[in-house]
């Protein structure tokens, strides 16, 4: 009998999983993808919208059109998953049974969980660029902003693309310099972390980069309340940061679908999976991929791409009654846009933090790791084409393996951070 694989979510992770499975199985498996709408958003493009560097309508395409012809696409709201009976309950009452389920339900934004954030000033002087609507509204606000305090605040981790807030600061610096008003705009990055980035070597590079651009970094600030009327952030330990314009990266949680399905999620609604196999804890015929999981890797498209390799092989193994393999190593690869047509590139995994070096070829690169360059910026731009034509169709990127490679990386550059207790 043909096994039926149901995938909930047709974002980056769900789409590439469906297409890879279709290529492996063809007619010998039934692949069903469910999503609530037919709008696939190119999320890496959101960062550029506020600066007029990307057009909002160019970032959205049909979800269905990204799936191979034999994949069945259901446009429906999922009510919950019943893992005892292997069934997905749809909002209209329809039930879809599965042999194997993949949760590719992503992360959701929870601005309402921070006191005052969606109160006075929301979408007037408080914006997020993590949604298309927010990024578009912020574009108008930035255009008319020519003096005052711009504060970029990451409320808490985990968030999608944790480098995006830093990129936003760099692009804002560039934007205001181009307009000749940089000396009248104070740019401050406010983070709950004890540095610009959690990984020590990368943190050192990024901190000096931000300092050189005159961006103020305020660390260990845990936002408890946002007072939009008075224009201030208040931390849980009563520190205050005043702002005229606030760009917030709100709290993230898992999908509502996971929250409504007993036994699958952690307390933030992320699916509890084994970080090496991506199999759900306690539910062997359920797997998760991408932003939906609780694995300690970045919530980023590159992670979903590399996870896809492990996931598809483990789905095959599971359906053939073989042991699943812990082959995902936390591999992450991110371009960090720094303005002035330059970008940084970082490549790391669960164990090895980002270091300088050459990528993808250890001898010729041509991309340099953890150093600003114009070529890295071109790489970032080229990635948009790759996203639609290589990543979503579920192809491998030539020269880039799913497991992180040590060759070409300068591990001697790892700084051991010392602090006195």
């Amino acid at each position: 009998m043909r096994p039926r694989v149901v995938i909930i979510g047709a974002g980056t992770a769900g789409t590439l999983t469906a297409n890879r499975l279709d290529r492996v199985y063809g007619d010998s498996a039934e692949i069903i993808v469910i999503d609530r709408d037919d709008r696939h958003l190119y999320q890496p493009g959101l960062l550029f919208v506020p600066f007029g560097l990307a057009k909002p309508d160019k970032l959205v395409r049909s979800r269905r059109a990204q799936l191979r012809a034999a994949v069945e696409f259901h446009e429906a709201e999922v009510e919950h998953v019943d893992t005892c009976h292997d069934e997905v309950q749809l909002a209209g009452g329809e039930v879809i049974g599965y042999d194997l389920l993949v949760l590719a339900t992503g992360a959701s934004l929870l601005p309402g969980e921070t006191e005052g954030l969606t109160g006075p000033g929301w979408n007037e002087r408080i914006f997020t660029f993590y949604t298309l609507e927010g990024a578009t509204a912020l574009r108008s606000a930035l255009r008319s902003f020519d003096q005052g305090r711009l504060v970029v605040n990451m409320v808490d981790l985990p968030v999608k693309c944790p480098v995006a807030p830093l990129e936003f600061c760099c692009l804002a610096d560039w934007h205001f310099r181009q307009r000749g008003v940089r000396d009248r705009v104070r740019i401050e990055y406010v983070t709950p972390l004890d540095g610009a980035f959690t990984k020590a070597t990368c943190n050192r590079e990024l901190s000096s980069l931000l300092t050189a651009k005159g961006i103020i970094v305020t660390t260990e600030f845990n936002t408890g309340q946002v007072d939009g009327a008075a224009g201030r952030l208040v931390s849980w330990d009563d520190r205050e940061v005043p702002f005229d314009l606030l760009v917030t990266i709100p709290l993230h949680g898992g999908s509502e679908i996971v929250a409504r399905s007993p036994g699958l999620g952690d307390d933030l609604g992320f699916v509890q999976v084994d970080p090496g196999t991506l199999q759900a804890r306690g539910t062997p015929n359920v797997f998760a991929i991408g932003d939906a999981t609780n694995v300690p890797a970045s919530k980023a498209g590159s992670v979903a791409h590399f996870e896809g390799d492990t996931l598809v092989r483990n789905i095959q193994r599971f359906l053939e009654d073989r042991e699943v393999e812990a082959s995902f190593d936390g591999h992450t690869n991110c371009f960090i846009e720094t303005g002035f047509h330059k970008a940084l590139l970082i490549d790391f995994n669960y164990e090895i933090e980002p270091v300088p070096g050459l990528f993808p070829d250890p001898h010729v690169g041509p991309l340099r790791l953890l150093r600003e360059s114009r070529l890295n910026h071109l790489g970032k731009l080229a990635f948009e084409w790759m996203y639609w034509h290589v990543v979503l169709p579920g192809r491998s990127v030539p020269g880039i393996s799913a497991q992180m490679q040590l060759a070409g990386k300068r591990l001697d550059a790892i700084t051991t951070e010392r602090s006195t207790p």
Partner: protein
């Protein structure tokens, strides 16, 4: 950093930031001393509620809970957590509870 000696008289190993390398070396009697090292006064029942919750969660799940998890599930609201363990409640409570540093999910 003072050297805390475990009951079996082996010195306790801690990392550069003061987190226990081997959580099994921790005993409840060490907590007040670690608290003192980190500028805290006497530990109250509310402190202990958080410390025990941190430790239980770590031993059950293999990961130290974040501040959001603490606020949602420890029975102590976030505001109070900051009063009990100033600056970084999750980090400080983990240190006192003898478990590794809570990982930021980057």
């Amino acid at each position: 950093m003072t050297t805390i000696t475990a009951t079996d008289l082996r010195p306790v190993e801690r990392d550069a930031e003061g987190f226990f390398v081997y959580p099994e070396q921790w005993t409840e009697t060490m907590a007040p001393e670690i608290a003192l090292e980190n500028g805290l006064g006497a530990l109250t029942d509310r402190h202990w509620q958080v410390i025990r919750f941190m430790r239980t969660t770590y031993l059950e799940t293999g990961a130290a809970p974040s501040i959001r998890t603490l606020g949602k599930t420890s029975g102590v609201p976030v505001k109070e957590l900051y009063q009990l363990f100033p600056k970084g409640p999750a980090k400080l409570a983990a240190k006192i509870a003898g478990i590794p540093k809570p990982r930021g999910c980057i």
